[in-house]
């Protein structure tokens, strides 16, 4: 793990043109180069290699293959080293022929599927009216027609959403149709010599039609299932070819992307990109091996490049991956600054634990995360659930809470007892809980400020370090505010500590803030026009410091609020359960209560912890203007990836 974002190196490499092919493959195999456009090249002899002209066709082929994989719910093949080695020119025409064949077969099946769906909806409409007692929309005919024409009549009728039923035990037939189709159905019946009879009662006829419709719906649904199976079979039968086509195409596409970053002269090829500095040796060895040592590699000092253009790689351990997601979900930190992942992990887990302190419920969350991560591997949210579960379990043990009950004595203090005191001899009460969370908030804010100072020192922004809201003077005023508040609370809310030193130091700090703009003007050798600016900025920063830090700190009271709400909810469910006349009801209410609390409170605590991290912690130091490190690798993810 690295406290800062990984140190990066900008390389520029020159190889012989004849080595360009193997070099591309090696770069893909290494998967560590985040390519950059070469700047400053000029002259007629330097040509941009450009993208492979077949790249667009390959992209289209890949998309079609992917859509076929999608249809049969197959995940895309993961590329391996062998795929690079086996790299062959893709036969675009053959690939298109293969895909055309498959899509033609699919189109024919889709057409049938459409017809079957249409038929099904006709039957379902009739069935719906018949079963839903909407006879107004239906016409029922009982009668006979010209012998030997049942099949033809049935065929003609279905075109008008009507069905012909010929009961075995009766010489008469039944026709069920939509009354809106009357003007179309009646001429058809007449043309088949239909003769109305009353040999079957309407209720019986309706029942027979219902049975017939259910039979037909069953048959059509079966046909539809078979068609879906046939669609799957069309794809699965060619899966081997599609798999191979995908691998071939994807390797070509990735090599094409790499080619797009190559520039060439008549005999040489040149490219540039960022790699983690720790990998320079690996890169050099690999390039020398593939070019037989005929290559030139130069590095540009990353300090010469605008740090916002340097890609940012975070080197966090597997344990911290879910928290890294929380960081990058906010934004990418600026290059060279502190990697906040470890701090987020600690503060996020602590906040959640304070808001959701229950060993039993924590264990449930842990198990849900564990089971989920076994079923769906690689989901960071499930890993996060496991960590949150553990944190909640630990705090549950500290506060003696197990599914809302104090089953074992607390290791720290009884949270339930603090919220609902049973005797006057209570060490902790609701105010103590508020106090704990405020202290925790102050620690979080100061951690953010210290990270900010480290970042500012690394960026050599001395004026900001001293004069900005989150700089040293701002922090000093915040500390003074805390000191005065504590004094006020300790005096029993009667007065502030009276110390001339405090008053003078606050006044000096506030006055010092005024000099930021003049100092900046002086260093930038600007003349005049700064008095009004200084005054305005001074007022704004004072307001920001006094109101901002106060609201930031008080915001942490929500941690206590949610913790108290959690205890209160569990107590309420306990009360409701005790009103139940029997044990089964008691247990059921408690189970339901626990489920509800885990789902709602758990989600609420997770969101509030995130909010506190993003708005109270990150705002102290985070510059989210970094560019994610996105090397081209065999299995490149859609967004920037860590190494």
């Amino acid at each position: 793990m690295n406290v800062f974002t990984l140190k990066m190196s900008l390389l520029t490499a020159l190889v012989l043109k004849e080595h360009a092919g193997p070099v591309k493959k090696k770069l893909l195999e290494l998967g560590i180069v985040d390519f950059r456009e070469l700047e400053g090249l000029s002259g007629d002899e330097v040509l941009r290699a450009g993208t492979d002209e077949t790249l667009e066709q390959v992209g289209s082929i890949l998309q079609q293959v992917e859509s076929l994989f999608h249809q049969v719910h197959e995940t895309l093949p993961l590329l391996t080293q062998e795929d690079i080695e086996a790299d062959t020119e893709i036969d675009i025409k053959a690939a298109e022929r293969l895909l055309d064949e498959i899509f033609r077969s699919l189109a024919a099946l889709r057409e049938k599927q459409k017809q079957v769906t249409g038929l099904l909806s006709r039957y379902r409409e009739l069935h719906g009216y018949l079963k839903g007692n909407s006879p107004d929309f239906l016409d029922l005919h009982v009668g006979s027609f010209n012998e030997g024409q049942a099949e033809r009549l049935s065929g003609r009728l279905i075109a008008h959403s009507a069905i012909l039923v010929s009961p075995e035990k009766s010489p008469a037939s039944i026709v069920l149709s939509l009354s809106r189709e009357r003007q179309n159905v009646e001429p058809v019946l007449s043309s088949f010599g239909w003769n109305e009879e009353v040999s079957i009662l309407p209720s019986e006829a309706g029942e027979m039609c219902l049975q017939e419709l259910e039979r037909r719906i069953g048959t059509v649904e079966e046909e539809r299932r078979k068609l879906l199976d046939s669609i799957t079979a069309v794809i699965v039968d060619r899966m081997e070819e599609l798999d191979s086509l995908y691998r071939q195409g994807r390797v070509r596409q990735l090599l094409g992307y790499i080619s797009g970053h190559f520039s060439s002269t008549r005999n040489t090829t040149i490219f540039s990109g960022w790699i983690p500095s720790d990998d320079t040796e690996l890169f050099e060895t690999a390039l020398q091996k593939v070019t037989g040592g005929v290559c030139v590699i130069e590095y540009t000092d990353e300090k010469e490049v605008d740090r916002r253009k340097v890609p940012v790689a975070l080197d966090d351990s597997r344990f911290l991956q879910p928290f890294e997601k929380l960081v990058t979900n906010y934004s990418t930190p600026q290059y060279g600054t502190v990697n906040p992942t470890i701090f987020v992990a600690v503060s996020y887990l602590t906040m959640f634990a304070l808001m959701f302190a229950d060993a039993g419920q924590g264990l449930v969350i842990f198990l849900l995360g564990l089971i989920g991560s076994r079923i769906k591997k690689g989901h960071s949210i499930l890993n996060l659930m496991m960590y949150l579960g553990i944190a909640s379990t630990v705090s549950g043990v500290l506060f003696g809470s197990y599914f809302g009950f104090p089953l074992f004595p607390p290791l720290w203090f009884d949270y339930h007892g603090a919220v609902f005191p049973h005797s006057g001899d209570v060490l902790y009460d609701v105010y103590s809980i508020l106090g704990i969370t405020l202290k925790f908030g102050i620690i979080v804010i100061f951690t953010g400020l210290i990270i900010n100072w480290v970042n500012l020192i690394r960026r050599r922004e001395w004026i900001h370090l001293v004069f900005e809201k989150n700089g040293i003077i701002g922090a000093f005023l915040f500390a003074m505010g805390i000191y005065l508040s504590y004094g006020f609370v300790n005096s029993g809310y009667t007065g502030f500590p009276s110390s001339n030193l405090v008053v003078v130091s606050i006044a000096l700090a506030v006055a010092a803030l005024f000099f930021r703009v003049p100092l900046e003007h002086f260093l930038a050798r600007k003349r005049g026009g700064f008095l009004l600016d200084s005054f305005m900025e001074w007022i704004v920063i004072i307001l920001e410091i006094f109101s901002g830090y106060l609201s930031n700190t008080l915001s942490f009271m929500r941690v206590a609020g949610l913790g108290i709400a959690h205890v209160s909810l569990m107590a309420a469910f306990g009360e409701i359960a005790s009103l139940s006349p029997n044990t089964a009801g008691y247990v059921l209410i408690l189970i339901l209560g626990n489920i509800l609390v885990i789902a709602l409170e758990g989600l609420s605590a997770a969101i509030q912890s995130l909010r506190l991290n993003y708005y109270e912690f990150f705002t102290k130091f985070f510059l989210g203007d970094g560019t994610p490190y996105s090397p081209i690798t065999l299995n490149t993810r859609s967004s920037g990836r860590r190494i």
Partner: protein
């Protein structure tokens, strides 16, 4: 929303499967499953319409009663389209004797704004049943003057135009209860829309179809300044001439008047087309301006409605283009 790059990529799809596969992780994701299960692209269009209705309803349900009413009024536009679809079924089936069974499947049958018995509407055997299905709704006023005979004689044009006016009137009815800024935004949008639509209608139906003035007056959109304008009244009663139009435009839409200068005076169709283009660009610009402006106005919601309606249209056209035309024509067919 899909961006230009995504739309361009979609237009290069060579099959419906590829097109829908690319719409994963977009609001149109559901279309893939529907196509996989039915193989019917009209079902996809039906789903896009249903989705739009659901979004309107969701937005309405999350706003306070006054604004919820306003969104309901806008949702009526979709309800009216559905009613028109249902009445067209009746027209095709009963009046023209065509098979409609399959078409019924594609129409929405849940509640949109009013309680309408969609089944009664779809199963109507005569116009009386249509009237009955809509008798306790806001639409009865438009439907009541029509009879089966009248519909048989003049078709559905006047009936549909009447229905189209209802959603505008329902929006106008809610306006007084809105905050000033919101009221001004909607009024200005409706007025500009109304003026240009009325111009298009006058061009199209007076000059091309020779509709008499009293009928022309009936189809005038109930919004904008031009509906009360003396110039327009005269225009409807006299032989249309480009000078008349230009005189009207000069007063309120001088830019459009200048643009029409470059179109052949005699070519009414080209002039209509130019006004339509202008209307579209003006609307788009207006909604984009609203998006950039104060986010706490109704403009944001209206812009979303407009942009998603446009996008739904493009996606529907793309689906049809990919299904029925060659790859090179997709982009043009989808109107991109």
């Amino acid at each position: 929303m899909l961006d230009e790059q995504q739309l361009a990529a979609l237009s290069k799809s060579r099959s419906i499967e590829q097109l829908l596969h690319q719409m994963q992780h977009t609001p149109y994701e559901q279309l893939y499953t529907i196509y996989h299960e039915t193989g019917d692209i009209q079902m996809l269009e039906a789903e896009i319409n249903s989705q739009a209705i659901r979004i309107h309803q969701e937005i309405a349900s999350s706003l306070d009663p006054v604004y919820s009413k306003l969104i309901d009024a806008f949702t009526r536009k979709l309800e009216i389209e559905n009613i028109k679809g249902m009445i067209r079924l009746y027209f095709s089936n009963i009046i023209k004797g065509e098979d409609i069974s399959q078409r019924f499947t594609y129409l929405y049958r849940e509640r949109i704004v009013d309680d309408i018995s969609w089944l009664s509407l779809a199963n109507a055997r005569d116009f009386e049943e249509i009237r009955k299905a809509l008798e306790h709704t806001i639409y009865s006023e438009v439907i009541n003057p029509f009879t089966q005979e009248r519909v048989r004689e003049e078709g559905l044009f006047f009936l549909e135009t009447g229905l189209d006016h209802i959603w505008v009137q329902s929006v106008q009815a809610v306006l007084p209860s809105l905050a000033r800024e919101d009221r001004l935004i909607i009024t200005s949008l409706l007025e500009a829309d109304g003026d240009l639509k009325n111009l298009i209608n006058i061009f199209r139906y007076h000059a091309l179809w020779d509709l008499p003035p009293d009928q022309l007056r009936h189809i005038l959109y109930p919004a904008g300044h031009l509906q009360y304008s003396e110039d327009v009244r005269r225009l409807m009663e006299e032989d249309i001439h480009t000078d008349h139009i230009r005189a009207i435009l000069e007063k309120r839409y001088p830019r459009l008047a200048r643009e029409l200068d470059s179109v052949d005076d005699e070519d009414i169709r080209a002039q209509v087309q130019r006004i339509e283009q202008y209307l579209f660009i003006m609307r788009k610009g207006e909604y984009q301006r609203l998006l950039r402006g104060n986010p706490f106005t109704i403009g944001t919601v209206l812009s979303y409605f407009f942009l998603s309606e446009q996008q739904d249209g493009v996606v529907k056209r793309l689906i049809n283009a990919v299904q029925y035309t060659s790859a090179s024509e997709h982009y043009r067919e989808a109107g991109l």
